[in-house]
């Protein structure tokens, strides 16, 4: 009864095809946007921006990218960390080497470079499928780890591959305080989420999903697998690359290749699976879960230890955190293998029929 779409008649194709066809959804999205742009800046403090909100936003963006590849096109990729690294380092190069390069231009160059690299490493997907492909994408991860550590050109010949960026400047607006960084990332995320949402419900998005559901059948009905798979790799790695550039420029400021190690790839994959494969909304849920969980655990474990009168060493705390994290992931996969997005849609259905059982 609460979430009731009865009576909302569509009288034109335009109205029928719009991005949020249900009135309540449109209001909800507007409310979330208002909260994100106006409410949170008034409420949150500096720690919240730095430790939770900015990482959450950037990783949501990356998760959207990975979700397009893994969730919509069905190509499991364990090399997303590498595409983030490509985005970050190439954006750095564009920013440092080219005079008067605007910040947004540099970030987009990072995304474009990641696109090229992603398409190159996506070529095996035309021949290799499933878990074989998943392992093969690790080649991208290890190659990029190696390249940014060993090839001096990428890092302006800095030792150990660490680089730093300062003076983030967008059309005269200097992005320096956590609040400004938050708003900057938020604008990127909103724009890209909108693009992604529109892409996945367009013709190309339906091609991706057809390939995911069964690629032979998709080929039979006239979908070109090469075009569909490579475009998924391209779009996905563009978004992931921009997210990587943001992660380096805005969140870290100074970084080295280990910021984009294989653990980052796994983290992104966790976000997609826990958030829900094939759901843009789910990417946000997954990113929130994975960003917040370790922070909660690192606060909770010593507190619990103190409660029972144990003082736990920092090493032990990190090990116990790893255990709890792993156990929670497994538990979560058992309870809801389709991710948080599925819980969300179940909840919507419940609201729709409430107070009746069916």
């Amino acid at each position: 009864m609460i979430y009731q779409e009865n009576g909302q008649l569509k009288i034109s194709y335009r109205a029928d095809q719009q991005i949020f066809p249900i009135l309540q959804d449109r209001w909800a999205v507007l409310a979330i946007l208002a909260l994100a742009f106006a409410g949170i800046p008034m409420l949150a403090d500096e720690y919240l921006f730095r430790a939770i909100l900015i990482p959450f936003l950037i990783l949501s963006l990356a998760a959207i990218g990975v979700n397009i590849l893994v969730g919509y096109c069905g190509q499991i990729s364990m090399g997303s960390g590498a595409f983030m690294a490509v985005g970050a380092y190439m954006a750095y190069n564009a920013y440092v080497r080219i005079d008067a390069m605007p910040l947004i231009g540099a970030l987009l160059v990072g995304g474009a470079s990641a696109t090229l690299v992603g398409m190159f490493f996506g070529i095996p997907s035309l021949r290799v499928k499933g878990l074989y492909l998943a392992v093969a994408t690790l080649a991208a991860q290890f190659f990029c780890d190696w390249a940014f550590l060993r090839i001096g050109w990428f890092t302006n010949n800095s030792s150990s591959g660490s680089v730093s960026v300062s003076n983030l400047d967008v059309l005269g607006w200097t992005v320096s305080s956590p609040l400004e960084k938050y708003l900057f990332c938020l604008s990127f995320v909103v724009v890209f989420a909108l693009i992604a949402k529109n892409l996945v419900r367009s013709a190309i998005g339906r091609e991706w999903m057809a390939i995911r559901d069964m690629d032979v059948a998709a080929t039979v009905i006239g979908i070109r697998p090469m075009y569909a798979k490579l475009s998924a790799f391209a779009v996905s790695s563009f978004i992931v690359g921009v997210a990587g550039a943001l992660w380096g420029f805005v969140h870290l400021g100074a970084w080295e290749p280990s910021a984009f190690s294989i653990d980052r790839s796994f983290q992104l994959l966790f976000m997609v699976i826990i958030g829900g494969m094939g759901s843009i909304m789910g990417s946000f849920f997954g990113a929130a879960f994975i960003v917040v969980l370790p922070i909660v655990l690192s606060q909770l474990v010593p507190a619990l230890g103190a409660l029972v009168g144990l003082s736990i060493s920092t090493a032990a705390v990190s090990h116990i955190e790893a255990m709890v994290f792993g156990a929670l992931i497994v538990w979560f996969l058992i309870v809801e293998p389709h991710g948080l997005a599925k819980l969300w849609s179940t909840g919507k259905q419940k609201l729709r029929v409430w107070p009746f059982p069916h």
């Binding site: 893994v70 499991i76 095996p124 021949r127 290799v128 499928k129 499933g130 878990l131 074989y132 998943a134 392992v135 093969a136 690790l138 080649a139 290890f142 190659f143 780890d145 190696w146 550590l149 060993r150 090839i151 069964m214 690629d215 032979v216 059948a217 039979v220 294989i262 796994f266 994959l269 966790f270 699976i273 826990i274 494969m277 090493a315 032990a316 090990h319 116990i320 955190e321 790893a322 255990m323 709890v324 994290f325 792993g326 156990a327 929670l328 992931i329 497994v330 996969l333 058992i334 293998p337």
Partner: protein, 334 residues
């Protein structure tokens, strides 16, 4: 490799050329080849654990590396503690008891994983199962280091550490062979032989093969699936234990041991996810490829290429045979 002398590993023979080695290129090539074969044998040992589990349950077990570390930690620490617990001195006895205890621990772990995780995830998508084993990886890593500590420990099962020179009559200076590697490779070969006997000749082994062929058909003739999975994870646990002992006594038992799993991944996709002989042959190809590339290609494009070169090599093979060298042919039906 010249810029990182501290990183020299046991099977890295490159240093001899830098130290005025005069044995000639043929002998040097042979040395590299042998070193690669030995290293490859060790990779296949880890790869074997992956293949066993994937064959029987369709689970791509990312936790194999964590299991290797866990088993090695258990082995190292029990060998340290056993003399104090039972009041004896003998090192052999300590190792024996440690092995038995570590094996028992792996059994318990296998049973728990089947009971608490796999049973609840039957028929889920491959990606979900993969992520579940990643979760298990975190858990086992944390558990092992919480119980056994996170320093570097030693496993001493009496493997010889000295290098030996063979074929001295053919080449000046002979060909250097690491005796430790030879022992390890023999052990690995023995384990593989035992496993194939187990699979071919015992009733349990036959049941395992039946499950691997077709879950439903196996179940319909009364083979208990859950029991079989426990057995497979146990066998994989024992394989992890042997791999952990060998790798641990070579490199020391420490967290970085888990990365051998990442080294073994190209081996299994090269050999085929479902093939035991594939794991062996794949291991040998990857081992040799890594060493040759590091020695002959490394100087031109920079050191440290072996980790990604292994993946690139596996990919080249996959482009010709997408299911790996010995994997079952993938047939797509609409």
């Amino acid at each position: 490799m010249a810029e990182a002398p501290g990183k020299r590993t046991h099977w890295d023979f490159n240093w001899r050329s830098a130290n005025g080695f005069k044995g000639g290129t043929m002998a040097f090539f042979l040395e590299t080849l042998l070193g690669g074969l030995m290293a490859g044998m060790l990779y296949s040992l880890v790869a074997l654990g992956f293949v066993l589990i994937f064959k029987a349950s369709g689970v791509f077990n990312f936790a194999q590396g964590a299991m290797v570390l866990f088993a090695a930690l258990a082995m190292a620490r029990f060998a340290e503690w056993a003399p104090a617990w039972f009041g004896f001195e003998s090192k052999f006895l300590a190792n024996l008891i440690a092995f038995a205890l570590a094996a028992a621990l792996m059994f318990v772990l296998a049973w728990l994983i089947e009971r608490l995780v796999l049973r609840h995830l039957v028929n889920q998508e491959a990606a979900t199962l993969l992520m579940a084993t990643l979760g298990i990886t975190y858990f086992i890593d944390g558990l092992g280091q919480t119980i056994f500590g996170s320093d570097i420990y030693r496993i001493d099962v009496g493997m010889p550490k000295d290098p030996a020179f063979v074929l001295e009559s053919v080449f000046e200076g002979g060909v250097l062979v690491n005796l430790e590697d030879v022992y390890a490779a023999c052990l690995a070969a023995l384990l593989v032989a035992l496993l194939s006997l187990f699979f071919q000749k015992t009733v349990t082994g036959r049941a395992l093969r039946a499950v691997a062929d077709d879950h439903q058909a196996a179940q319909s003739i009364g083979i208990p699936l859950n029991g079989i999975w426990v057995v497979v994870w146990c066998v994989a646990g024992i394989v992890a234990l042997v791999a952990g002992i060998i790798w641990g006594s070579k490199l020391g038992v420490q967290f970085s041991l888990t990365t051998v799993a990442l080294r073994a991944l190209p081996v299994i996709i090269l050999g085929g996810l479902t093939s035991v002989p594939g794991a062996i042959i794949g291991g040998l190809i990857i081992g040799v490829g890594e060493k040759l590339s590091e020695v002959y290609l490394g100087p031109y494009i920079g050191g440290g290429i072996e980790i990604w070169f292994a993946y690139a090599l596996a990919l080249v093979f996959l482009l010709f045979r997408p299911q790996g060298l010995f994997g079952e042919k993938i047939i797509d039906r609409v």
